[in-house]
Amino acid sequence: MIALNGETISIVLFFVGVYGLIARRNIIKSIMSISIIQVAIILYFICTNAVPGSVPPIGDVVQTQQVADPLPQALMITDIVIGIGVTAAGLTLFIHLYHRFGSTNWQKVMKKRNRHD
């Protein structure tokens, strides 16, 4: 029996995102799948090596308390910013693409692109 904790859920979520990338032809859904993958990664980082009952590493922490590992949290703040940037850039690019090709379908866009070539 696999334990139902943050790690397993995040790995499942990751592959849900990967499935979306493979199986969906809609460009917006592709960008959403990437967001799902990002969320899965963030969840994974936060859950690794997490000890129940530990306190967040913010401000003055009493020495006796167990403090959560600050590094994954610091990394994930950066990754959240990157994730937002990537999603925003992807959607902006998509608006441009939609204006040029008039479709949200990867396959149709690819055919139109090759006609332009």
Partner: protein, 533 residues
């Protein structure tokens, strides 16, 4: 001594500050700045060569905790190469009208990110730098905003983001197991691990992403579109193909070094490199667009580099690294000359371009010199690196495989070389810019100098002494002449009139298929490691 982080920051600062000046002044300052940067990097290189690697902890944290920049000999040599090529590119675009403030900001930003990737010692830092570089490159690919480029840019962007997500997931798993993200701490920590099976997943995740970045066999389909997109400025194609793709190989090299005591996949990557090289030149032969042909030839050459660095043989390893540098030089020259040819002839079809040599002599000479470099003609730089890789592989099937790859390269560039001859059908002489001509001629002369002074250059760059005498080896000469004749025969009989490989062009992977190939590569990697470990 200047600190390492200024190497990364200063291009960004200058690129931003240039926005405040009129564009003409900004261009002059840019050239001056690049020259100064090159001088500083040379100083650092001399320092590193004499006194060993430089280490800088940003924020004065103790080792392995904060972000570390580490300049060892290989990293510094690659930084030197990047600064040199960027200087050449900045001079090349000096009189172009698309080179405005925004272009320079993005271009110098890309330079600082590439330098950062080479110097950085921290895996997460590398991830951040690569994500930023992906975004900048997407904008540069779409710079002229043609319809085709919007699709190519979008594909490039999303596929690289997906790949880097795999990288980050692997990073998380690695951090869970090991607890450090610093390359050298990682190397030390991995030696303590006694159960390699626990590292299969992180390794597979990360190597999948890095293989995509380095454009290995099933994962290269994004590369030609991005590097050869019709509307991207030729300097962008040159930097992408000459330099940026090397960052993928560099990280691959670092990862392999760190993981090698536990997980040894060098044999697998030699075979993969071989397949990449073969597939690359077959696809290059099928193309009719000169930029796409050059882009596919990049894939093929990456295969050769991959064979060199994965062979577990010092001679082949240094040969592979020297080939990496040589490829940066001649492929940038080829892309720059291709850009000049396209803007002169207003077409990208190889069959419609004739008489470049008589119409644009300087471009013709530069093209010939760099073609001689890439096909490994004796006395040129390609021959040295290919000779070293072959020497490292002597006695195995790879040696004959390399001859086959070189034969393929020769046929590809015979096809490409057709545009040099014949009548251009134009009356007046081409009026290309004098700076452009100077840059391509200088770069192509380096192909020749890199061949003549090959062993000295290797001794200077990598501090390693390899005895190479390109002329003494009569057998190699005969082999090359034989390959040329055979290539000529195959080209004349098969490819002169029609293209039997044209049907390959109709196969094209869409976004979903590329994502599927990434996942399959990952799954294959996991299964392969499960079986072999």
């Amino acid at each position: 001594m200047i600190s390492l982080h200024w190497l990364i920051l200063s291009p960004l600062i200058i690129g931003t500050a240039a926005k405040l000046m009129p564009i003409k002044t900004a261009k002059k300052i840019m050239v001056l700045f690049q020259t100064a940067l090159l001088a500083v990097v040379t100083m650092i290189f001399v320092e590193v060569r004499q006194n060993g690697p430089l280490l800088e902890n940003i924020g004065s944290w103790p080792n392995t905790i904060g972000i570390t920049l580490r300049a060892d000999l290989l990293a510094t040599a690659l930084v030197f190469l990047s600064c040199f090529l960027f200087l050449a590119m900045i001079i090349f675009v000096h009189n172009k009208n698309y080179a405005d403030h925004l272009f320079f900001f993005l271009f110098l930003g890309l330079e600082s990110l590439i330098i950062g990737i080479f110097l950085s010692n921290d895996l997460f830092n590398i991830f951040v730098l690569i994500e930023a570089a992906t975004l900048i490159i997407t904008i540069l690919i779409m710079y002229k905003q043609s319809t085709v480029a919007v699709y190519d840019g979008m594909m490039y962007f999303l596929i690289n983001v997906v790949a880097m997500s795999f990288f980050l997931m692997g990073l998380g798993m690695l951090y869970k197991k090991i607890g450090v993200l610093d390359f050298y701490a990682l190397e030390a920590a991995l030696r303590q691990v006694n159960n390699p099976a626990s590292l299969i997943l992180p390794y597979a995740f990360m190597i999948t992403a890095v293989s995509l970045k380095a454009a290995l066999m099933p994962l290269f389909s994004w590369l030609p579109k991005a590097h050869g997109t019709p509307s991207a400025p030729s300097v962008v194609s040159a930097v992408l193909s000459g330099l940026y793709v090397k960052t993928g190989i560099y990280i691959f090299l670092r990862l392999q070094t760190a993981f090698s005591p536990l997980i040894d996949t060098s044999e697998f990557f030699v075979i993969l490199g071989f397949i990449t090289a073969i597939v690359g030149f077959i696809l290059a032969l099928a193309q009719t667009d000169i930029k796409l042909l050059l882009a596919y030839s990049t894939v093929s050459q990456i295969g050769v580099i991959m064979i060199g660095i994965s062979l577990n043989n010092p001679t082949a390893y240094w040969g592979g690294l020297y080939h990496l540098m040589n490829h940066a030089i001649f492929k940038s020259t080829l892309f720059l000359t291709a850009g000049m040819i396209i803007s002169e002839y207003k077409t990208r079809k190889i069959s419609e371009i004739h008489g470049v040599y008589s119409h644009m002599p300087a471009v013709g000479v530069a093209t010939i010199l760099s073609i001689l470099g890439i096909i490994g003609a004796p006395l040129f730089n390609g021959s040295i690196s290919k000779f070293l890789i072959a020497a490292g592989a002597s006695g195995s099937w790879i040696e004959s495989g390399l001859i086959l790859i070189n034969l393929g390269t020769i046929i590809v560039f015979m096809k490409y070389g057709q545009l040099l001859f014949g009548h251009s059908g134009k009356k007046e002489a081409a009026n290309s810019d004098i700076l452009e001509k100077a840059v391509v001629l200088a770069l192509s002369m380096l192909c020749f100098l890199g061949g003549i002074f090959g062993s000295d250059l290797i001794a200077i760059l990598f501090k390693i002494n390899l005895s190479i005498n390109p002329l003494s080896d009569g057998e190699k000469m005969l082999l090359f002449v034989g390959s040329i004749l055979l290539g000529l025969l195959i080209y004349r009989s098969l490819f002169k009139k029609r293209n039997p490989l044209a049907f390959i062009r109709s196969f094209e992977l869409g976004f979903n298929e590329i994502c599927l190939s990434i996942t399959l590569f990952f799954a294959f990697m996991v299964v392969y490691l499960k079986i072999t470990l």
